[in-house]
């Protein structure tokens, strides 16, 4: 009798196991890691966790019987801290996918770890185009934007309107170097000249001496290859030193709506930047913003937040189709195979080198008189179609791309 009971129990357990999807640990665990306290915490930070949560809710994970858990962590813009967090997450906490990770030096470090451990890495915050170039892996997708797209958008537009001599003010780490390299290439390809550059420590506070060198170079355009508070301070101090008044123009190569908010329209007006997403572009974006902003102290979502939402949505679709989240390479292959479609970015695709493709937009910051409400900051100058916005597949140097 007892043996019959045991055999039946074993049979039932085995039977149940085969019918359901096999998620590691029974849960899909999403780890959102970014800068929660420093230079980049407004453009990513807690907002990315909120965006991930909204993606899980809109996907209807609970109704489909999928158990999804979201954890967040602060990498403090330090590669060693970020690496430790990711290792602990994967080894101890059984996290299946790492999302966001601004600060390219951290992203590049995490890129290697995730490949070695065969999990998934969806980069929304970081910019270095090397992630889909020489450093590409079968476990990483670079979602929202990259330094090549920024250079191609902002750089090309400015050179075409006459800004043909450039001086770079660069953040002295991986991101700044990548952005400077890609923009310099675009400038020279379109007939311009790079007359000089200076690298400032990251993060910086006082840029007056570097701006003075930029002023002495007499370049028409001062390209700011930095982001977050560094860009904000560079722009404020440039205006203080009469740089913009005396005929030189600033090119904010990477700027977010949170930067414009911190600068105020009086200082930021006329700035040209390239972004992948803006909250006021269409009704779907506005609706998302209405739900997002109250959860994040009224801060409106940046393209990084929108990218996290889109990436998590597509990831969940892929995992649902595969019925498993264990093999990172398989999930990413599925994500590349399925075309993307979400309410924020519309239809798009993920290329073989891990690059997500969508249109990029060239924006100009409005004058104070043109803005009707807080956060109404951008006017659309041009739309760069998806097939032109990102570096051509063959030019990246990614080993995954068969030439």
């Amino acid at each position: 009798m007892k043996r019959m009971f045991t055999l039946t129990a074993v049979a039932v357990v085995l039977g149940c196991g085969c019918a359901q999807a096999q998620y590691t640990d029974g849960t899909i665990k999403i780890g959102v890691m970014n800068d929660m306290s420093g230079t980049y915490s407004d453009l990513s930070g807690q907002g990315s966790v909120i965006a991930a949560r909204m993606a899980v809710e809109d996907f209807g994970a609970a109704a489909k019987g999928m158990k999804v858990e979201i954890v967040g962590a602060d990498h403090q813009n330090k590669p060693d801290v970020g690496s430790n967090v990711v290792r602990t997450w994967i080894d101890v906490d059984k996290v299946d996918v790492i999302v966001d990770v601004p600060t390219s030096s951290v992203a590049l470090a995490v890129n290697e770890i995730v490949r070695d451990k065969n999990k998934v890495f969806l980069v929304s915050g970081a910019a270095a185009s090397d992630l889909t170039g020489p450093k590409c892996t079968p476990n990483t997708i670079h979602w929202t934007y990259d330094t090549w797209a920024l250079a191609n958008g902002t750089g090309k537009a400015i050179v075409k309107t006459g800004g043909d001599t450039w001086f770079f003010l660069t953040a002295d780490y991986a991101f700044g170097h990548a952005l400077e390299r890609d923009t310099a290439a675009v400038v020279e390809k379109n007939g311009g000249k790079v007359v000089g550059r200076v690298r400032h420590p990251f993060p910086g506070t006082d840029f007056s001496s570097f701006l003075l060198q930029a002023q002495a170079s007499k370049a028409k355009i001062i390209g700011l290859a930095n982001a977050g508070s560094d860009t904000i301070n560079s722009i404020k101090q440039a205006s203080e030193f009469g740089i913009t008044q005396s005929g030189q123009n600033l090119a904010a190569l990477l700027a977010f709506i949170t930067d414009v908010h911190a600068l105020g329209l009086q200082t930021a007006q006329g700035l040209i930047m390239t972004e992948a997403w803006y909250w006021d572009l269409n009704d779907a974006n506005r609706e998302f913003t209405k739900k997002f902003a109250p959860q994040f102290k009224g801060v409106h979502p940046t393209m990084v937040h929108a990218g996290v939402y889109s990436a998590v949505t597509h990831y969940l679709k892929a995992v649902e189709a595969l019925k498993s989240d264990a093999d990172g390479k398989a999930v990413v292959a599925k994500m590349k195979e399925m075309p993307t479609d979400d309410k924020l970015f519309g239809k798009g695709e993920v290329r073989a080198d891990g690059r997500k493709i969508h249109p990029m937009y060239l924006f100009e910051v409005k004058k104070p008189a043109e803005s009707k409400a807080p956060w109404d900051y951008y006017k659309l100058r041009a739309t760069i179609p998806a097939d032109e916005a990102f570096r051509p597949l063959a030019e990246g140097g990614c080993p995954l791309v068969k030439s």
Partner: protein, 295 residues
């Protein structure tokens, strides 16, 4: 004009002037720290947070009370100084007899609390604060364009630093203060209210930090992080100048600002670390600092 190592003299003078301006912030902040350590033997790690509080106080005065920069220069140090006095009465007074480390830990914890609270409410991108209309614009000095506000910063910091040094080193009140630090019991026996002097001294040191914060608000970002980035450098300045020496803090502050300015011209990537390299060298040669008195 002449050329030095490939940099024209014009650019060089411009950078030196910028270095002097940065140096005045270092001098003001390290003065507050030196006063607090010299008089109270407390390593005030909350100094950076109090600098940040001064800048935020200026922002609040403008936003909610409509009081501009000139009011803020007067009121913000007083308000933040009062919070300093409260901290001293509530927490610090119990730590004087203990090891320096306890004061350091307490003030460090307070700094984290202040910064975390403000970051929670105000984010990290910072808040705008504009240069007061009277000081806008600038002078074209030929070798560079000097914003009027930055010129004012140098002049005013120098004035505050020298006044403080004069009061502490050359007046009767200052001599009471110095005596009270050396031998509190004896000074109390003379009928001087030592605990009150100590409280007010801490408040004064904190007020100096807040004053630096108000002056920084128009040119640096008013953000919760502004103190954290600066405080480590300021500690290095104080150590180089000599922990208890007022004149040392002032001279070293301006001097290191100049050296950092030069480094930004010739080797910009090292500009963050040059002050610490100098600190290491100075400590090897003169452990008490350049102007310090060995205990």
């Amino acid at each position: 004009m002449f050329e030095l190592f490939g940099i024209s003299s014009q650019a060089l003078f411009g950078q030196l002037l910028i270095g002097l301006i940065n140096g005045s912030f270092y001098a003001l902040l390290s003065l507050g720290l030196a006063v607090i350590f010299g008089m109270l033997n407390i390593i005030n790690f909350a100094h950076g947070a109090q600098y940040m509080l001064g800048a935020f106080a200026a922002y609040f005065l403008l936003q909610y009370a409509g009081l501009g920069y000139w009011w803020a220069i007067l009121l913000a140090p007083i308000v933040v100084g009062i919070t300093g006095i409260i901290i001293e009465r509530l927490f610090l007074q119990w730590l004087y007899k203990l090891d320096h480390l306890y004061g350091l830990l307490l003030t460090f914890g307070l700094a984290l609390i202040f910064e975390g609270t403000f970051r929670n409410f105000f984010g990290s991108s910072g808040l705008p604060y504009s240069v007061p209309p009277a000081l806008q614009g600038g002078q074209n000095l030929g070798f560079m364009f000097l914003p009027n506000y930055r010129g004012w910063v140098v002049v005013f910091s120098l004035a505050v630093c020298l006044t403080t040094w004069f009061v502490i080193e050359r007046t009767k009140l200052g001599s009471y203060l110095r005596a009270a630090t050396e031998n509190p019991a004896l000074v109390r026996a003379f009928g001087i209210n030592v605990p009150r002097m100590i409280t007010l001294t801490y408040g004064f040191g904190v007020a100096l930090a807040a004053l630096a914060g108000v002056m920084a608000a128009p040119i640096y970002n008013v953000s919760p992080q502004m103190g954290a980035n600066l405080i480590i450098v300021v500690f290095a300045v104080v150590v180089i100048g000599g922990m208890g020496s007022i004149m040392g803090a002032i001279v070293t502050g301006f001097g290191l600002g100049l050296i950092e300015g030069l480094t930004k011209v010739f080797f910009p990537e090292a500009s963050n670390t040059v002050i610490f390299i100098i600190m290491a060298i100075v400590l090897l040669i003169r452990p008490a600092g350049l102007f310090g008195r060995s205990a």
